[in-house]
């Protein structure tokens, strides 16, 4: 492994993040606060409790997941798409690095940024509602795995995308709906039976459910299934990336 190269890519990507630190920090704080005002205070006052947890507290894990997933995807996809777009990718392709090292650098940086934002939201939420975290280690593990797997997905998206529109459309058209319909703001058990079944085909349900379990010990699906889902998703993304670099798809013409 060429660790120097991994660190070079990682630092280079993080530098982009630090150049826009204020924005990276402020926008999650602001949007989280808004969610709390709208969902927590306005709507939440009519839903008082979900399975023994106040509605405001109930939505925190979903909120964090929503931001973390979209941030991980957009950071990673932009990170690799941009060099492709402006042509600097020539350097990556001509360097003595393999696919795993490139992925570690880009995905590592994108996941770090997403993790940072997730933690900022957690701290912000703490000022609005009483939070309890029953399984802190599991909580961190879920958070980190989600950051990583969605950064991997973003990386694939960035390599696939042919223009900026596609780059933005996929998260917007696929990921955001999946997250909103994945039980971020409600419990699956609140849905009619038919929709409960349909929802189980949404992979995001397993992630949010597992993450929420680490906070309040309650879950829509068994925790083992959640772990399986996120593990399988991560492996699937890695397999696709491995294939991309083997075949040079969309990178080496």
């Amino acid at each position: 492994m060429n660790f120097t190269a991994i660190m070079a890519i990682y630092k280079f990507e993080m530098a982009r993040f630090f150049r826009t630190l204020m924005q990276s920090f402020l926008s999650p704080v602001l949007s989280t606060s808004l969610y709390f005002v709208v969902f927590g205070a306005a709507i939440g006052s009519r839903i008082d409790e979900v399975e023994g947890v106040s509605y405001g507290a109930f939505i925190v894990p979903g909120l964090i997941m929503l931001s973390v997933m979209t941030q991980a995807i957009s950071n990673a996809s932009f990170g690799i798409y941009f060099p492709k777009f402006i042509g600097t990718i020539y350097e990556l392709l001509s360097a003595p690095v393999n696919f795993l090292e490139i992925v570690c650098g880009y995905v590592g940086a994108a996941a770090t940024k997403a993790l940072f934002i997730g933690l900022v939201i957690l701290v912000t939420a703490h000022f609005f509602v009483d939070l309890e975290i029953q399984h802190p280690l599991a909580m961190l593990a879920f958070l980190v795995l989600t950051c990583l797997s969605f950064a991997l997905l973003g990386f694939i998206l960035g390599i696939w995308a042919g223009n900026f529109e596609q780059l933005q459309l996929v998260p917007l058209m696929i990921v955001t709906p999946l997250v909103f319909l994945g039980g971020s703001f409600y419990s699956i058990s609140m849905l009619p039976p038919v929709w409960q079944t349909v929802t189980l085909f949404n992979p995001v349900v397993y992630l949010i459910s597992g993450f929420r379990w680490s906070f309040y010990g309650m879950a829509d699906v068994p925790i083992g299934l959640s772990l399986l889902a996120i593990g399988g998703f991560t492996l699937a993304c890695l397999a696709v990336i491995w294939w991309i670099f083997r075949t040079g798809w969309r990178i080496r013409n």
Partner: protein
Amino acid sequence: MSDIVEIRDLRKTYAGGFEALKGVTLNIHEGEILALLGPNGAGKTTLISTVCGITQASGGSVHVGGFDILEEFRAARSMIGLVPQEIALEPFEKVISTVRFSRGLFGKPRDDARIEAILKKLSLWDKRDNQLKELSGGMKRRVLIAKALAHDPRVLFLDEPTAGVDVELRRDMWETVAELKADGVTIILTTHYIEEAEAIADRVGVIAKGELMLVEDKDDLMRQMGKKQIEVQLSEPLTAIPEALASYALELRGDGCALVYSYDTRAERTGITTLLNDVAAAGLVLRDMQTRQTSLEEIFVDLVAAAEGDAA
């Protein structure tokens, strides 16, 4: 001299079916400067990109320093620096950090003294803390060279380093290339300027339509170029060269109506005056006279025309 780059029957067919390289075989000697000439679309960039790992070859093999570029890509690529034809840089990055990044990417430990030396050599030290978008085009190209040199490569590919560069900067560039050669770096550069190849190259290669038409020592080429021919046309045809002119190694052409004399323009005495005196003394009557010179340009144009004729 040993060969640091060995290219064997290299082929590249792009996804659309276009054959950009049709079996190129080329050995590059360690420490030399090789200039690749060729018209637009000849395949120069494709050749360089394939050697450097940016495009995948469809056939053939490349070894750099004895390492296969696919099987032993780490060892092979560590030896190569590439300055691409198109300027591609992150606009908001600082000069010094982008050069540092390149060094790290190639797995070399951070070395500020080395980076400083490279930036100073390329007159970029004063601009080290500027963002790349604040630099002029010529400066950006030098940043690309600095990036390519950051990991101390032994082979440097320069794809049209002087395209769109003013005369003064071009001379600077030639000087830089000469200094790199003195440091032992092997340099392959592409260019559209024949004078450039004449000025700095040790060997010259001509590519047209995806084929390597010629690779030759520049001095040999120059010698051919230095040769000039004088053709003396006679009013009466000859059957044989007269005894009196035997010492001149003349050639009889055009059914005996023309005498052709080859001489070296750079020789102290060309022998033209005595030849003409002797021609008159032999009683031959001149009708006309003309001189011809083969230039690198002419060789180049002929080769390219031949390639296009084959393709048509």
